[in-house]
Symmetry: C2
Subunit: 323 residues, 2 copies
């Protein structure tokens, strides 16, 4: 219960998780009783899906975000800002010096950093960089023994932009996850793509059996389901455009986004967030800068519910932060 | 395939996992798509089942084994030996000085250690200690700012011997797991029971969302299923005695054990392990001292298969290591 609204009555647009995720079938019974097996088909399925030479399954990319900073002695870390805050938090926690950098400042940040951490496409701004630009930054960092860490949590809808095929290059580390595109956030399955020597160090630090056996089984099937993936990409692309158009029609033109979410910068962010919440629609509020992230509605009635609420906002004069 | 025998043909007695584990029903569909929620019913279900004031869910007790050593500056650590090797490994890896101690040496080890790590009942020896003895060791360690860490992975069949109700005492840390008694090794659900201040530090280090949502849901149901637990305890006690008697009948009298496994010390350990493996029966071999751990067969035909193989060993003269 929040705002007097029961959990199941909420339309949760706060997450960026595909609302029409991969449909999980019944599990083999042995999945619950057997210890996770590193020799199962998961690594092969992931290498093939990501087009990557070496992968390490982890319990969601969060597990990697948490652990990667422990693999380096304290150093200078540039982190894209605004962006998913857990990266900066984890590097600071491990004793590194973290300097936020906006997308426009990254070129300078590279020369001042030992490690550069990007979310690509960025969450929540949707900022994108060309592979050439990213590989150039990587080359500069790697020449000094540095790292480029690219969190590609929202990359699955545009696989042609992924750096996964380059992750055998020294000092390039790519994070992937089954949480967003596949809609399997509960399963806690992600991957680190990097040189085998770093993957071994990370694996030693995380220890054995970090991904549950049922989650591994589900991940193998989802990664191999090319037909579902193709359909999902087309649907998400269309739905992302539909969401952007809907927001524009209601004076909330997105400043950026990707297939799975749209990002709206507005001084009315706090007021709109509260207004939608009172109608049982949860969005993600960012205070710096004042902005909202809208995830995709899943069903047609969810779309209608969002549209009706946005129309009501038009009819009211919601205050901005300066009002 | 090992020994030319396909995976599904093996009788796996190597693990100590309950072969008749908690029967997992179909999952709610949302379990796969929703991020794990710290505010769900898991903590409450665990506090009630363990009779403990404060618990932290972790991705199997292995996650705690891996992380606890990072919460202390390098110190002297006594570890029960022989015993599950991951404890000593993790403390060494984090820079501590580890001294193995046999059960008989623990009294002395307490005075030389900042941290004492026990498996209770011990795996694989089955060694047991009285709660009074354990609490006395704890008091000695805690008076110096030390810790007693008790891994109770095999305690569920004898809950009256658990230290869980005392885990609000400063410096007492108890590890529990749903892997063995509940037979849910694939789910990766364990708990750390300790003072809230240590649990908070551990949680900060492990980060959010470490236990998968389907695993959390299954754990809540299993922890609350008192009827199943009572039946399982009775069955495991009877089966443990049956296994011990079976081994005794075949000149393999256990040197120790608990409901879920029996431990057989014999100079013929390597030969018997290989002999059983050629018949598709996997046991756990320890080289120091030469010994075998036998888990419980699950079905009546598994019992018959084990008995037939043991009878054949009698008929052969398997060599000891000195033969």
């Amino acid at each position: 219960m929040r705002y007097g609204i029961a959990l199941e009555r909420w339309l949760d647009l706060s997450t960026g998780i595909n609302p029409c995720g991969w449909p999980v079938p019944a599990l083999p019974a042995a999945a619950w009783s057997r210890l996770p097996d590193d020799e199962d088909e998961l690594n092969e399925a992931a290498r093939s899906y990501y087009d990557a030479r070496a992968v390490l399954p982890v319990a969601g990319s969060q597990a990697a975000i948490q652990s990667l900073p422990r693999l380096r002695a304290p150093c200078q870390v540039g982190v894209l800002h605004p962006g998913y805050a857990e990266h900066a938090h984890a590097w600071r926690r491990a004793g590194h010096t973290v300097a936020p950098a906006t997308a426009g400042e990254l070129d300078n940040a590279v020369s001042r950093s030992d490690v550069l951490v990007l979310i690509h496409p960025n969450n929540p701004t949707g900022a994108r960089f060309s592979p050439e630009q990213l590989l150039d930054w990587h080359a500069q960092l790697a020449a000094r023994g540095g790292w480029l860490v690219v969190d590609e949590a929202f990359m699955d809808a545009t696989p042609e932009r992924s750096l996964a095929p380059y992750c055998d290059r020294h000092g390039l580390i790519v994070l992937r996850s089954l949480g967003k595109f596949f809609g399997l956030a509960g399963a806690r399955v992600g991957f680190v793509l990097a040189e085998p020597t770093w993957l071994e160090q990370l694996r030693a630090q995380l220890g054995p059996w970090t991904v549950a056996t049922p989650s591994r089984w589900v991940a193998v099937q989802a990664l191999r389901d090319r037909a579902w993936q193709e359909t999902a990409r087309q649907r998400l692309e269309a739905d992302g455009e539909r969401l952007a158009a809907l927001l524009r029609r209601h004076r909330l033109a997105p400043a950026g986004g990707c297939a799975l979410f749209q990002w709206v910068c507005t001084p009315r962010a706090i007021a709109i967030h509260a207004y939608l919440a009172r109608r049982g629609i949860l969005t993600r509020l960012f205070k710096e800068p004042p902005s909202l992230r809208f995830g995709l509605p899943g069903t047609e009635s969810d779309w209608i519910r969002l549209e009706a609420a946005l129309a009501d906002i038009d009819a009211h004069d919601l205050p901005g932060v300066c009002a």
